[in-house]
Symmetry: C2
Subunit: 307 residues, 2 copies
């Protein structure tokens, strides 16, 4: 799967992932109104609006990027109905040839992490049969529990040839509160980064590991240090665009081979039509605005990389 | 809600929470076979087995304990069908008068944590209406993102009069890998504990805060230190029983008032019938075995507390 990701990045020329994080207020009125007319102002109505919105976005970007990253919280907020659309979105994206990074940030004690890993990346045994619950290609994982919270994910990944991205340094303003604490003179995120490199050695693709990391675009200097600490890890980089990261900030997240990082933008793409820059598309053509925003983001990053 | 929890602990005399973490291999054959006959060896069949199992457990323990703690991963492993039964279980437990601690261990950047908080503890706005997605009373939260990953949970709790338990020192063997790292000479879990106390000050009940902590029974010495650091926080203590914790280890998690902690057991109760001690009940009477295990656990803890 990590090879497939690399191949698709090379083919599209876009180390870009589109975050499918549909807040209701990103969704144009004509879509929500139609959904509410059909299903009422219910959880089902909200889920239908999210689905129609996602479908239009995916139809407009699927040939430009290697992967999407649906943030499960944005679906979970609508309970079961939202999660049904999360699954429907995964299936649709796969049909369109996109790789799927489930942004689930799960992590727990061993037996519980195993259940999460099985549900999102693997297959669960039911009597004599096996079934996939959600079936993402990659998932994000929280490292707070240490090795025995992470290992079950790696075990399932090995069986399924799938991958994970472990939170190392997150993009939010207060991420430093615990992650930057100095332990033996070194920040915790570096210690976590070392563990990511160590865990990753046990599960290598051709040139990159199936065990990647999450490092926020908002912390480019730390990205530089972490790039050195985890040379074989793919870095999933959130925080571009709406959170403040720019193409020039991203160079240090990549390796010399121009690979090793994939940059996410959510709001900046899926709600592009709300920005002045893409206002000409209008609400009606929000999908085309998203497409234009992906093209601009791709060009911004490839230019910064000097390619 | 924290007052309600305290009142129910006093009323039942049991600072005990039953972890509803139904792995398929805990479920007696007569239940799985019946479910598979009706629904096949499918995700739906597995979910039906989990539901019938949970119902029998809840019917046998609801009058003995203040709360249950369903671990969402055990449902999520069966995809949408599993999550439907997670919700059905929550609703049934509420009907039976039990408080519900959703063991979800979510946590993310601010806007995403808000979506989780809304989905699990609050209500989501859909047009002019509001709806609850899952509607737990408490949820567990991962602190890795720092204040802006936690605050949205506290904000929603304030609106809804609900509570959270933040991971401080987890019960698993490798929890020390990051949590025990010394920063300025103090372990990270103490630094997180201090933050829990600080966050909790902003949202107090009569004598305890709505912001609690998770500290594993498997680390009683650390529990003692954390009890002092977070005097007003309820401590949710996993790791009793199957993970190795005993009543005598738990004393230091409680305050002088005999309150301030609630101890979870999952496997040790719901799969009690598999232990030699409760083998006399047999598979058929697994619910009664669970009831006996709850009574023994309550007595073990109250004896250790000298009450």
């Amino acid at each position: 799967m990590i090879q497939k990701l690399t191949d698709k990045i090379k083919k599209t020329g876009a180390p870009v992932v589109v975050g499918l994080d549909p807040m209701l207020d990103y969704i144009p009125g004509h879509i929500t109104q139609k959904a509410y007319r059909e299903y009422g102002e219910t959880l089902e109505g909200a889920a239908e609006a999210v689905w129609q919105f996602n479908k239009e976005i995916v139809d407009n970007i699927y040939d430009l990027v290697p992967a999407v990253k649906p943030q499960i919280a944005m679906y979970e907020q609508f309970g079961i109905e939202g999660l049904k659309v999360f699954k429907k979105t995964l299936d649709y994206c796969r049909e369109k040839g996109l790789l799927i990074i489930g942004d689930i940030k799960r992590g727990d004690i061993g037996s519980t992490s195993k259940a999460y890993a099985v549900g999102h990346l693997g297959k669960v045994q039911v009597g004599s049969k096996v079934h996939a619950g959600f079936d993402e290609d990659f998932a994000t994982v929280n490292p707070y529990f240490g090795t025995d919270g992470v290992k079950p994910f790696i075990d399932v990944c090995k069986e399924e040839k799938k991958g994970i991205f472990i939170l190392v340094k997150t993009s939010n303003p207060s991420s430093g509160e615990f992650q930057d604490r100095l332990a033996d003179g070194r920040p915790l995120y570096e210690i976590v980064g070392e563990k990511v490199a160590e865990w990753g050695e046990s599960y290598m693709g051709d040139s990159y590991s199936y065990v990647g990391a999450v490092v926020g675009a908002t912390y480019p200097e730390m990205g530089k240090a972490l790039r050195r600490i985890m040379p074989k890890a793919y870095i999933l980089v959130p925080g571009y665009g709406a959170q403040g990261g720019k193409g020039a900030d991203l160079v240090s997240f990549f390796n010399e081979d121009g690979l090793g990082a994939i940059v996410n933008s959510s709001r900046g793409i899926i709600a592009a039509y709300k920005q002045e820059k893409y206002a000409k598309y209008g609400e009606a053509c929000f999908g085309e605005a998203a497409r234009a925003a992906v093209e601009d983001m791709r060009d911004d990053i490839t230019q910064a990389l000097g390619r």
